[in-house]
């Protein structure tokens, strides 16, 4: 930890914006992928008719009480293990009291003094620099309902379907020093929660909501007053909102105005942030332990059971790719962007024993085509097995790289296509028959005495002309390397 602190305390000159150091911390609300709500048995599915998934407990009807969902706790443990956090053996649910129409009980059940997940960090690459953002905590709480302001002239409609959906609020230290680092952190956290499957990560539907606490200061000065940008529901908006907020704060300070702590909303249309009508009484939530819920006790055995059942984490898998397949850190990270890509890579690499080539094809040809089609690896028309066969054919010299691209075209458009069949059909095999090649070479030499003399006179370029002639003579099937060797050997004679 200390080393991290030290790293953070010294401002990195190159990151200063108009002489100011940017300080960013995150609070992320991740909806947990449970079947039922955190304290009731109502379903959590998105997009149902208003209030059809809000049961008596979710509506806080008189006499109802909360009963904790084991699945939500399990997911909290998984996140804690994924981020190297401490899993509290005993944590407490508290009531956060405030009045709001989308908060049926008039209080939110959350965790205050003792959260279930404590400490840990999120590590990722920013360019080729390794970053580590420390977590303060992640605590379990219930989501609120939704207020629909559009309709009902002069009134607001309340839909409580979302009320009681389990959330993990993941809170970081103010460790980030640039918008790029902040967005990279958010993307990494998003990758992790979806990778381990505790959250579907759908930002449009609000499954993964980020609040960014942004402040600026002159290097070495104490932390500036922060403003919290709420509900950033896409990485693009996140980038725009934080950039705008940084500029805005610096201008305020430059104009001699002090920053007031505030909660702000980002308007994608104007690209600006504006302060919310300050939530009243925000200062006094009257937290106290919820008497309806005894302490949440998590036995070490449970943590170990969860650990044993957990899938290999991206960080760990990337390290293994470097060790087992000799990939670079950069490539290994790129190939562990998602579980699908990683397993596609591993299947192909194992099948042909050419991890580097396979990696290059995935990061190059395949991702280029997928991006163009706005699709992803799960929808890739070329299977890992086919890619392995294709790479195998390049490796054993059957086809050249260029020919392989033509094969890929065929495979991409025709799901029935087979690698070798395509090579045959398109006649892409390289000519490896020395006898036949020798005939062509002799013919070309005989037909181009001029080039031969020039070459012998020391003009290396002349050789290229001859090679071109020979390749042409072989309809491009000759193996260029073989041609070169043969020519040199004959001309030397």
């Amino acid at each position: 930890m200390n080393t991290v602190v030290d790293k953070k305390s010294g401002a990195n000159e190159s990151l200063l914006v108009r002489g100011y150091e940017v300080v960013i911390g995150f609070e992320t609300h991740a909806q947990l992928s449970t079947q039922s709500k955190i304290f009731s048995r109502a379903p959590t599915a998105f997009g149902a008719e208003p209030n059809t998934q809000a049961c008596a407990v979710d509506l806080a009807l008189p006499g109802t009480l909360p009963v904790m969902n084991k699945g939500a706790v399990e997911r909290a443990i998984e996140l804690g293990l994924a981020l190297g956090s401490h899993i509290a053996p005993r944590s407490i649910f508290a009531r956060k009291n405030y009045f709001y129409p989308d908060l049926p009980k008039g209080y939110q059940i959350s965790q205050f003094e003792i959260p279930v997940v404590q400490g840990g960090s999120v590590e990722f690459y920013l360019g080729d620099e390794k970053k580590s953002v420390r977590l303060v905590r992640a605590h379990l709480e219930e989501d609120a309902g939704k207020s629909l302001h559009e309709d009902f002239i002069g009134q607001t409609g309340i839909d409580l379907n979302r009320a009681g959906t389990p959330l993990l609020e993941i809170v970081t230290e103010p460790d980030m020093r640039s918008t790029a680092e902040a967005v990279a952190y958010a993307k990494e956290l998003h990758k992790i929660v979806t990778w381990i499957g505790i959250c579907d990560g759908n930002m449009q539907e609000g499954s993964f909501r980020c609040d960014a606490n942004v402040s600026v200061r002159k290097p070495g000065e104490p932390l500036g007053t922060r403003r919290e940008i709420k509900n950033l529901n896409s990485f693009k908006f996140m980038q725009q909102a934080i950039d705008f907020e940084i500029r805005w704060q610096i201008e305020e300070i430059e104009d001699g105005r002090a920053i007031q702590q505030a909660t702000v909303l980002f308007n994608p249309d104007t690209g600006e942030t504006r302060a919310m009508r300050s939530k009243e009484d925000a200062a006094d939530y009257r937290y106290f332990p919820d008497p309806d819920l005894p302490p949440l006790v998590i036995a070490p055995e449970w943590v170990e059971r969860v650990r044993a059942s957990m899938t290999e984490l991206p960080r760990v898998m990337a390290a293994r790719f470097c060790a087992d397949y000799g990939l670079s850190d950069y490539d290994a990270t790129a190939l562990t962007q998602s579980r699908e890509v990683a397993s596609y890579f591993e299947a192909a690499a194992k099948a042909c024993g050419q991890p580097k080539l396979v990696g290059n094809w995935i990061m190059g040809e395949i991702s280029r085509r997928l991006n163009a089609a706005e699709s992803d690896i799960s929808a890739c028309p070329v299977s890992a097995v086919q890619l392995a066969q294709l790479v195998g054919r390049i490796q054993d010299g059957t086809i050249s790289n260029n020919a392989a691209k033509q094969v890929m075209d065929a495979l991409w458009t025709d799901p029935q296509a087979q690698v070798d069949a395509v090579i045959e059909a398109k006649g892409l095999k390289q000519m490896n028959d020395t006898g036949a090649l020798e005939k062509i070479v002799d013919a070309v030499l005989a037909a181009n005495p001029k080039n031969v003399d020039e070459f012998r006179a020391g003009n290396a370029k002349a050789l290229n002309a001859l090679v071109g002639q020979i390749m042409k003579g072989s309809q491009g099937k000759a193996n260029p390397q073989q041609v070169n060797d043969l020519l040199k050997q004959k001309l030397a004679g």
Binding site: N51, M68, G71, P101, Q155, D159, L293, P295
Partner: protein, 99 residues
């Protein structure tokens, strides 16, 4: 420690209780009377005592019971909204909320 009318107003607003002028002053004196008998309690030395949040948790080993993650509540919107003051197409209506 004695509560003022300003305290009463702050608390009433926190609790969303609209008070009549005469109610304010009555409550103020009644609460101050009450906190008179509370002073005795504040004087007690409780250093090292663990707060008791759940009365049967005398041994401090009470644990939250967990429910299996199974969705099992049918839609009962109609029954649940029978006593709702204002509903339109399934939504509870409230005065406009400004953010």
């Amino acid at each position: 420690m004695s509560l003022t009318l300003a305290d009463i107003d702050r608390l009433a607003h926190l609790a969303r209780l609209g008070l009549q002028p005469d109610e304010r002053s009555l409550l103020c004196s009644q609460l101050n009377d009450f906190f008179g008998i509370v002073e005795k309690m504040r004087a007690v030395d409780t250093s090292g005592v663990v707060p008791l949040a759940h009365p049967v948790d005398v041994r401090g080993d009470m644990a939250l019971r967990l429910r299996e993650d199974i969705a099992g509540e049918p839609n009962q919107r109609e029954a649940n909204q029978i006593s709702a003051p204002a509903v339109e197409s399934g939504l509870f209506l409230v005065p406009k909320v400004i953010e």
